[in-house]
């Protein structure tokens, strides 16, 4: 690469960094004060683009219209943030953290469909910035003037935010609440108002980040999850709660991505590396490296010890075998009375139930939240497909070996992940899942890339719907039973001891990390089983099996059913899969309907469905006693 093109790529990277910084700064601010990991933050960015597009259309493509549109769009998105905070989040600040996460997932779904309804599914290409559309000559290369302006906006906004936080009483309140919000309340500060104002500022920053991209990036419906993944990475690499860290990380990642594009294919003796393919994964590699070297990010500090001792989850109770027998009998009898459609739905439910139970296994009893569990589901699926089609193994062998591939990756990824905890751990799992996704997505010769693989059918003796149904039910059922059994073995008790009281567990000689690692591998293997069964039931597999949305689906299933109960994930998986099927048939806006249902559940049953129903049942019993 020549110096001028290197320099231009550097500037391109800095341009991308500005918006990335704005989104991440808002996310970081909101997390600091409210302790909510706001998955809907990417949706707010997306709204910023759409609203700016419409406002600029309405106000005219003059410099006045453009800049008024951008600023108004940021304010509108800020107000949307306030609405979200007041209508939903304010009601659940006392609910468990994971439930708040579920609520923000639901908001993602609702916002996506609202955008679909208002703006349609076509990408919307915004106007160039009036007055700044010309290009500037730099070292013989041309650079849009607007991009140079964007480069300046990042540091300027950091300066303004710094002044706001360091030089105003509001800023002092925000910093105080980030450390100890209960004490701030006891000093007479109305937390509700403070949280609302923080949400306004945070949402506005996301909206501004989106609106500023309108001349550079078409507004589209996939931005929400891709941007939230980027923003998570930046926040975590920079260190949660550190705004300078966020800027530093945004620059690092923006520039690294731009460089990958600029470098292109490099020929080394013996092989060649196509760096432009690394664009999708480079930020996750950076995050992985940073988190392993500096577990709290570049400029982050270890999180303050949570003050209100988080209430320890109630002990798990094993399901009664009578109930289990009834279910087993029903499932075995199902093919006798049902049609193919119903059997196919049951197979899906079985796969997702095992997927959800394996996720619950590490999230609940082992206390490690994963945002990237789809990696192992997808690896199981792809391993089955690759072993069958590329290695030419018989189907039975591919089917049996595939989960071990998932387990092997879980062994590798898990080694890094168990070194972290809390949000940082969750982010690292997301990073590994994204790396997996991008490999699957781009390795055309092995995985057929974005087209996915087809013709992954079971062997002849299993190819009947009923035969495969029994195989699926038995495999998934055994997987679930195995994981549940493990939870009531000494291994399972050790995991819970490590979760509830890591220090004491260490003191009595338990290698907490080692046990967590093993749990991670077990869960990965079982998710692999689910993926393998799923792939052979569909006959095809696409990269979406390892995507973020597959991971979040799993989280929704677990959280919907309730993380504190054993059977919750199964109920959640059943409900989720069935509802998605039914709703998708009825309406184009099934996501919104689904999101609203989740929100209703979150507000009404803050312990999850099974937990909430149990509580209701308990009260009913008490009244009748």
């Amino acid at each position: 690469m020549t110096f001028p093109s290197f320099f231009i790529q550097l500037l391109n990277g800095l341009t991308d960094a500005s918006s990335l910084f704005l989104v991440s700064a808002g996310l970081s601010l909101i997390f600091g004060v409210t302790r909510i990991v706001n998955f809907a933050h990417g949706s707010l960015y997306m709204l910023g683009l759409y609203v700016a597009y419409s406002l600029i259309q309405a106000l005219g493509r003059s410099p006045f219209g453009f800049w008024t549109g951008v600023i108004l769009a940021a304010l509108v998105v800020g107000v949307v943030g306030v609405v979200i905070e007041v209508l939903v989040l304010r009601r659940i600040y006392r609910a468990p953290e994971l439930f708040q996460l579920l609520a923000t997932f639901a908001i993602v779904l609702v916002v996506k469909d609202a955008a679909l309804y208002l703006w349609g599914s076509e990408d919307l290409v915004g106007p160039r910035a009036p007055g700044l559309a010309m290009a500037v000559d730099i070292l013989g290369k041309r650079m849009p003037a607007y991009d140079l302006l964007l480069i300046a906006i990042g540091p300027v906004m950091l300066g303004l935010l710094w002044l706001l936080l360091q030089r105003t009483r509001w800023g002092a309140l925000v910093r105080a609440a980030t450390q100890d919000r209960e004490m701030v309340g006891a000093l007479g500060v109305d937390q509700a108002k403070l949280f609302t104002s923080v949400f306004f500022v945070g949402a506005m920053l996301a909206g501004l980040g989106g609106a500023l991209q309108i001349p550079r990036e078409p507004a589209n419906l996939d931005l929400d999850l891709s941007v939230i993944a980027d923003a998570f990475v930046v926040t975590v690499v920079g260190g949660l709660g550190s705004l300078p860290g966020a800027l530093l990380a945004a620059i690092l990642i923006g520039v690294a991505k731009a460089m990958c594009i600029g470098v292109g294919t490099v020929r080394l003796p013996g092989f060649e590396v196509d760096f432009s393919r690394l664009v999708l994964v480079v930020e996750f590699v950076i995050m992985g490296v940073v988190l392993v070297l500096r577990p709290y990010g570049l400029l982050g500090k270890p999180p303050a010890v949570a003050r209100a001792a988080a209430s320890v989850p109630p002990p798990l109770r094993s399901p009664r075998w009578q109930t289990a027998l009834v279910w087993i009998a029903l499932l075995l009898a199902a093919p006798l009375v049902s049609d193919d459609y119903f059997a196919a739905l049951l197979i899906d439910i079985a796969c997702f139930a095992l997927f959800a139970v394996s996720l619950h296994f590490i999230m609940g009893p082992a206390g490690m939240i994963s945002f990237g569990h789809a990696a192992y589901f997808g690896l199981g699926a792809y391993a089955g497909a690759v072993l069958l089609k590329r290695a030419g193994l018989p189907m039975e062998a591919a089917f049996l070996l595939a989960p071990f591939v998932a387990a092997a990756f879980a062994l590798l990824y898990g080694w890094f992940c168990v070194r972290l905890s809390g949000v940082y751990l969750a982010m690292l799992t997301l990073a590994f899942a994204q790396i997996t996704w991008s490999i699957v997505f781009q390795w055309d010769s092995l995985t057929s890339g974005s087209n996915g693989m087809i013709g992954i059918w079971p062997a002849a003796w299993l190819s009947g719907k009923t035969a495969y149904y029994y195989l699926a039910i038995v495999c998934c059922g055994l997987g679930i039973a195995f994981l549940w059994r493990v939870l009531f073995s000494p291994f399972g008790y050790t995991l819970r001891a490590g979760r509830d009281s890591p220090l004491r567990a260490e003191v009595i000689g338990i290698n907490v990390r080692g046990f967590q690692w093993m749990a991670f591998v077990l869960a990965g293997a079982m998710a692999g089983v689910a993926g393998t069964v799923f792939a052979f039931s569909k006959g095809s597999i696409s990269p979406s099996a390892t995507s973020i949305s597959q991971s979040t689906d799993g989280l929704v299933m677990v959280l919907l059913g309730g993380v504190e109960t054993l059977t919750g994930p199964v109920v959640g998986a059943g409900l989720f899969t069935w509802l998605r099927d039914v709703l998708a048939r009825e309406t184009d806006y099934w996501r919104a309907v689904f999101g609203l249902i989740i929100l209703a559940i979150v507000v009404l049953f803050p312990q999850g469905l099974v937990g909430g129903l149990k509580a209701l049942f308990g009260r009913w019993q008490e009244r009748n006693a």
Binding site: R169, A172, R175, A176, Q179, G185, A186, L187, G188, V189
Partner: protein, 233 residues
């Protein structure tokens, strides 16, 4: 001023307060004495609304406060100084004080930064120091000053002398006298009988979540058996 009637409170299933009643009148310094784990801190947190009472009544200035959120209680003029101090370590002394600031209130002394620095001269010499870079005694002064910025009519001090050097304990006693001189009511929890004798007008003894004695300091001083039973270690 502050009247607590038969409050009960739980942590999970543990029944911590089992019917605590006490009272602090205007301008009075009242001590809540008891051993570690007797329920002193929980009583204060319950009064402040930080732990929801399961039963019982708390009224302040003639108004029921037992269902109000903490910030509303603070805004009625009841100040709370927690045992662990809970200084905002990333904020400077002045910023810590600004978080506590509330409008002036009729019937209560109005505090400014300068008046507080006169009361706690050490703080005045470290206005821009971060809360996390202060000694325990300085933090104790700061946490009281921070609560006073809310111009309370009554302050609750949870173990103000705990873990402080003897010379700082003396300063603390003088400060409490000064607060009383300003007309504030003070409810303080203590394990240290001697400290209470220096500062308090009246005293309650709490043991296993119940009030076992209430009376003047002189009555407690006269009753060696009572002290032996509830206070000796």
């Amino acid at each position: 001023m502050l009247a607590v009637k038969d409050i009960h409170a739980y942590y999970g299933r543990a029944h911590i307060l089992q019917g605590v009643s006490l009272e602090a009148k205007g301008g009075e310094v009242v001590a809540l004495l008891g051993r570690n784990g007797a329920g002193k801190s929980t009583a204060m947190k319950t009064i402040m609304g930080l732990v929801p009472p399961a039963r019982g009544e708390v009224s302040f200035g003639g108004r029921r406060i037992d269902r109000l959120p903490p910030y509303r209680i603070a805004r009625l003029g009841l100040g709370y100084v927690p045992e662990e101090r809970r200084i905002f370590t990333d904020l400077t002394v002045l910023e810590n004080l600004s978080v506590g600031r509330q409008p002036a209130r009729a019937g209560a002394p109005t505090w400014t930064e300068d008046r507080l620095f006169a009361l706690f001269p050490n703080l005045g010499r470290m206005r821009d120091r971060l809360g996390g870079r202060m000694s325990g005694g300085e933090q104790q002064m700061l946490t009281i000053a921070r609560t006073l910025m809310g111009n309370p009519r009554c302050v609750m001090l949870d173990e103000p002398s705990e873990g402080l050097a003897p010379i700082i304990v003396e300063q603390m006693a003088r400060s409490i006298h000064a607060l009383k001189g300003e007309g504030l009511s003070v409810l303080l929890s203590e394990q240290n009988l001697h400290f209470c004798q220096v500062v308090a007008d009246r005293v309650y003894i709490i043991e296993k979540g119940q009030i076992r004695f209430g009376g003047t300091m002189a009555e407690l001083a006269a009753d060696a058996a009572l002290r032996e039973q509830y206070l000796s270690v």
